[in-house]
């Protein structure tokens, strides 16, 4: 007891949460991190917070109840009278973070997930402040010495590499590419019934300038063995529960070797910001963003399909044989989502734009992209798809760039109109009217984007 008084509980937990648990409450944290409190410890903790702790067994080890902390971040009075039912903030919640647009829509704060409304993707190159954020774990501390950031390339290689960012910059030729980065769950909100996960509209995507070195050059130096089958990518972001790897996904060796993959340290000419995975991340364009590990610290070359967290079962996977929407999945019927599907969005006008009475013509701008493929065609309709007009689609600057498009549509009268866009990829696959191929976690949802305008 005396020791505990000398050092605050907060300090103890800060220094070594597991030890603090043991010291303060006699709680042993097992490998599963179940916060087992023995009877005495539970009573001690209960007494300290002034009441019994329901579900104490669920309280992950190493967590200090804020009621006991010296300075409660919430600063909530303990007996605050309950707000009326359902007082959750209505409408979108906007991001407040230095260096990020306050028009990004927050899907979650823990972990931090924020999407870019389609009309904010109107720049040819997505500025850093408008690029979406998808963190899967805790956001690591900002690194103060980026050039000392270290990562390894190991496994099925002849020379295991251990490289600092400084060495990476010095040894390999840098390249800059404009590349689409897209969350694997982009479009999830369009599924019916609702699919589980962050409810992205089309805003889990952006196309910025990325600077780094070719992953293929680094792999050449490592000497990938013929036994290599798959990769596993690791980052430094801690798991939300406090221990272990947050996410580790990978790609087949063929995709890994693609010359368009980069190990990057710059975004739009500036050092890669921490929340975007800086100092160093992977960019494996065209596939779900989760393979482009942020805070990169390891590329493991494997002799079998990677089995890290986020691989297998229904994670980042789609049904092979179409399943009944909403049913329990048969996990054997799933394959990895690889190339992202074709998607076209209208970036101007914004959904909900009011146009002056008598407006007869609207100029449209947009963007389209299609995973590993290019976009062959973009069409637009103002009559719910009864008739279509082709847009003028620009060429990509480089492979995996998006393609900007423009079109002008005529409106016959005042009133309510919906403008729809439908992209077609190089293989002729078009966007559907609704999100098809339902799967429990909602991957591959790419129905046509629609915006409503009101004339007069």
């Amino acid at each position: 007891m005396p020791e505990r008084i000398e050092r605050s509980i907060e300090e103890l937990y800060r220094d070594d949460p597991a030890k603090a648990d043991a010291e303060v409450f006699g709680r042993e944290t097992g490998p599963s991190r179940r916060g087992f409190l023995n009877g005495a410890g539970l009573a001690a903790m209960g007494a300290a917070v002034g009441g019994a702790i329901p579900f104490a067994a669920n309280m992950p080890g190493g967590m200090i109840p804020a009621a006991m902390a010296q300075s409660s971040p919430a600063g909530m009075p303990p007996s605050a009278s309950p707000a009326p039912a359902s007082a959750a903030p209505k409408g979108p919640q906007y991001l407040k973070f230095p260096g990020k647009s306050d028009k990004l829509v927050v899907l979650g704060e823990r972990p931090l997930v924020a999407e870019t409304p389609e009309n904010l993707l109107d720049d040819d190159t997505t500025p850093t402040d408008k690029l979406f954020v998808r963190n899967n774990g805790q956001t690591p501390e900002e690194n103060k010495e980026p050039d000392k950031w270290k990562f390894v390339v190991d496994g099925e290689v002849n020379n295991k590499l251990e490289l600092t960012l400084g060495e990476l910059k010095a040894k390999y030729k840098p390249v800059t590419r404009r590349l689409v980065l897209e969350c694997g769950g982009n479009g999830r909100s369009f599924f019916t019934p609702q699919a589980r996960g962050n409810q992205w509209t089309n805003g889990g995507a952006g196309c910025s300038e990325w600077t780094g070195v070719r992953l293929a050059d680094v792999l050449k130096a490592a000497g990938v063995k013929s036994s290599a089958v798959f990769s596993g990518h690791y980052g430094a972001d801690p798991h939300l529960s406090g221990t272990g790897v947050t996410l580790s996904r990978g790609v087949p060796i063929k995709k890994l070797m693609d010359e368009n993959n980069l190990i990057v340290w710059q975004l739009n000419g500036q050092p890669l910001p921490n929340i975007h995975g800086g100092p160093v991340r992977l960019m494996i364009p065209g596939w779900p963003g989760s393979v482009s590990a942020k805070w990169l610290n390891r590329i493991w070359i494997r002799d079998k399909i990677h089995d890290g967290p986020g691989m297998g079962a229904t994670s980042y996977r789609v049904a092979i044989k179409p399943m009944v929407p909403g049913d329990k999945p048969d996990e054997k019927n799933f394959r990895d989502l690889e190339s992202m599907p074709i998607r076209s969005i209208i970036t101007s006008p914004a959904n909900g734009t009011k146009l002056p009475a008598g407006t007869k013509e609207v100029k449209l701008r947009g963007a389209a992209w299609a995973g590993d493929l290019t976009v062959r065609q973009v069409d637009v309709s103002t009559d719910f798809g009864a008739t279509w007009t082709s847009a003028k689609v620009e060429k990509p600057k480089n492979k995996y760039d998006w393609q900007r498009w423009t079109a002008t549509v005529k409106l016959p009268s005042d009133g309510y109109f919906e403008i729809w866009t439908r992209g077609t990829d190089a293989k002729g696959t078009m966007q559907p009217h609704i999100a098809g191929n339902w799967n429990p976690q909602g991957y591959g949802g790419n129905p046509m984007h629609r915006v409503a305008v009101l004339v007069g």
Binding site: G50, P60, A74, L112, E142, L454
Partner: protein, 127 residues
């Protein structure tokens, strides 16, 4: 613990806000680029039996906003709890606790009526 005991205990549990190690650690070093999530409280979410227990069970790792953004039936919520245990390191719940949590999730966040528009919402409709 009986169910009514659990409810009474849950009221007291409002005293608790579980702070993850990460937040506890990051609080010690003020860094401009570290994002600090806003604290949530159970009262922000639909009232109902088991709300507080569910809130505290499901916010040890992530925000409740993620939970509240879903609309699922009981079987899907049940599958989701299994998923949390199998994939995301959630400790198992006792049968009674699990039932209380499922009752709340089922009642508060049922499948949303199909919008028909596949997620599209008419921005001009008067509400």
């Amino acid at each position: 613990m009986t169910y009514s005991h659990a409810i009474a205990a849950a009221r007291l549990a409002r005293l608790l806000l579980f702070v993850t190690i990460g937040i506890a650690l990051s609080a010690s070093v003020a860094v401009a680029q570290t994002f600090t999530p806003r604290d949530e409280s159970p009262e922000e979410f639909p009232a109902g039996a088991g709300r507080d227990e569910t809130f505290y069970t499901c916010t040890a790792c992530h925000g409740f906003k993620l939970v509240a953004a879903q609309g699922m039936n009981r079987r899907q919520w049940d599958d989701s709890i299994n998923w949390m245990m199998e994939k995301h390191r959630m400790p198992p719940l006792e049968a009674k606790e699990r039932d209380a949590v499922l009752n709340y999730l089922e009642a508060a966040f049922p499948p949303r009526a199909p919008a028909g528009g596949g997620g599209f919402q008419n921005p001009f409709m008067k509400r």
